[in-house]
Assembly symmetry: C3
Homo-oligomer: 248 residues x 3
């Protein structure tokens, strides 16, 4: 199985699929191709939330603001999974979630297309790894343990018994504003203050009236600011990267 | 085969796919993940139009404004098909199209995630039904005939020989405004009045000049208000839920 | 393998998939369903760029402003590939890329639905061709060599050693403006004039500062006008169909 993630929109992902199908008869599963353009951190967040639900797979990830520069192409192995993509940190958070990451660098010809490594470098690599098997990927010609690589860490919140200071990591398609504060901060309370304003703590969206705001634990396990059938980011006046202060 | 329908956008549907692939090696087919948010009626309309073209399958449907409340999780069996989703009526119109629906309730733990039942309740159920088979789904632990359930009926038009009073059910991506008036109301006429204004009746869009409006029978069999290479909803000044009067 | 391309948005493509799966157990691969509405030339460009990366396949293409008129339904065979769609030229550029095209006309009932030939005419034809095999498609009942057909040619640029006059063929989802001027016009220069303004020639986007414009050879092999992490079409003030003059 090979999953595909990118910020390519359409129809560029189809070219990657064609290349993959030239190399392998793997099942292909699209994760998303509308990740925010060249936004490595947001993509890394979503991969960490979504890919651990998959059975062992090769994950092809191309959000690659440095395409065509001398940034390396890497494979990260973690558990029974392998992640293939550019060396910009995007693969590391999900890999840590799934095991103890080993990072390999993939050689590629500098004469390959400089603007579409998804098609010309990463898809062929993913196809070859699928054929040889994740366990054996170090046997692929041109693959060697990486001496160095770019990492990416999400910002850590500061949490005490009564206060938490965190950050909005992403806003999802529904408008739910997802913080980096662990959901257990909401244990056993019915109300908290969000940046000083009292807000109801609920098990899910429809526990308040339509259009009302609420605080809940989202499907990722973090504190999430939401509106029943509305957009939490707008109601709370917040966006990605904003600091958020919670008090219980 | 398992089809997937939701209002999730991306990348949440990928988490459901991961879970399904943990439970089964079924072929997965996306129907749409951009159904209008929490709009049960529009989704029900599209499912009824599209899913009957599929061979026997499990259809996972998650448009679920009541997620996390005490609304039930159900499976509807009709013919060789099964539909899995929330008990809000969305599954019934398509099920009636495909057979005589039997409705079952699926038990789930209230400790499951309260905000993402697509991933945590419905996808595992769909995977298990795929493995056990639609014929045997009542043998799944925690599955029992439902005592009651929510139904959903589309509004019925009033049609006489010369007049029809109906409603705009949906506007499709092209801007075609789809009514609930059966297409045979247009039989053997070249012109009708739409809310009092004469409009040309045509076999298809390109039978009028580019930008001109027309009335036709859409691919769903209903009367549709359209514009050749344009948007019928704008030209006719109508939107979903509007009443419409036709006279021939 | 059957690929699907259309301007349908959602959920109409799912109806085509259902029909295909009634006729065959082929692997289905989506190319794109958001091609610009009824824009035959842009679709033809993208098909030519993307489909040659696929192994032998049946390619179902439905961008069809003439649906329901007397325009023919055709199959084009080129190499080991077959292309199924309306006779409006959209299939020819990619077919020429893959071989020496043979064009066949497919008979269909005029009583078939007049507004959704993707579902009612082209998908069944693609499914049947998949089952009988591309080599044998002329044996399908109702299939005969076409006496005439619509072709589509992209405009040719005028290129001398120092000057090129071309056209913007498409703008991709990133905002890269793709011309019809072959990339080798940029060989061995570091700067060219674009409509009189000097512009840097780079191997890829990130070779200039974020927000800066550049000229490069895109993944399609043509000259492309771009901005690092921005939109080339806006920075250069150009759109599809505009003439462009390059001087080196």
């Amino acid at each position: 199985m090979i999953t595909l993630s990118s910020d390519f929109g359409t129809p560029y992902p189809a070219a990657m699929k064609g290349v993959l199908l030239q190399h392998s008869d793997a099942r292909l599963v699209d994760v998303a191709h509308d990740f925010p353009r060249q936004d490595v951190r947001t993509t890394a967040f979503w991969l960490r939330e979504v890919l651990p639900y998959f059975p062992p797979a090769i994950h092809l990830v191309v959000v690659d603001p440095g395409v065509g520069t001398d940034r390396a192409a890497i494979v990260v192995r973690a558990g029974d999974h392998a992640f293939v993509g550019p060396d910009n940190g995007v693969l590391l958070p999900v890999a840590r979630e799934l095991g103890d990451p080993e990072i390999f660098e993939i050689e590629y010809e500098s004469t390959d297309s400089a603007t579409f490594h998804g098609r010309d470098v990463f898809a062929p690599a993913a196809g070859r790894i699928h054929e040889i098997g994740v366990d054996s990927l170090e046997n692929l010609p041109g693959t060697a343990p990486a001496d160095e690589f770019h990492d990416l860490q999400f910002p850590e919140p500061t949490v005490s018994e009564s206060k938490a200071a965190g950050e909005i990591l992403v806003v999802d398609d529904f408008g739910n504003a997802i913080t980096n504060v662990p959901g257990d901060f909401l244990d056993d309370v019915n109300e908290i203050e969000v940046d000083g304003a009292p807000s109801s703590v609920e098990p899910s969206y429809a526990h308040v009236e339509v259009g009302q705001r609420l605080v809940t634990v989202g499907s990722h396990g973090n504190v999430e600011l939401a509106v029943n059938r509305g957009r939490g980011n707008e109601a709370f006046g917040i966006t990605v990267g904003d600091e958020i202060r919670l008090e219980r």
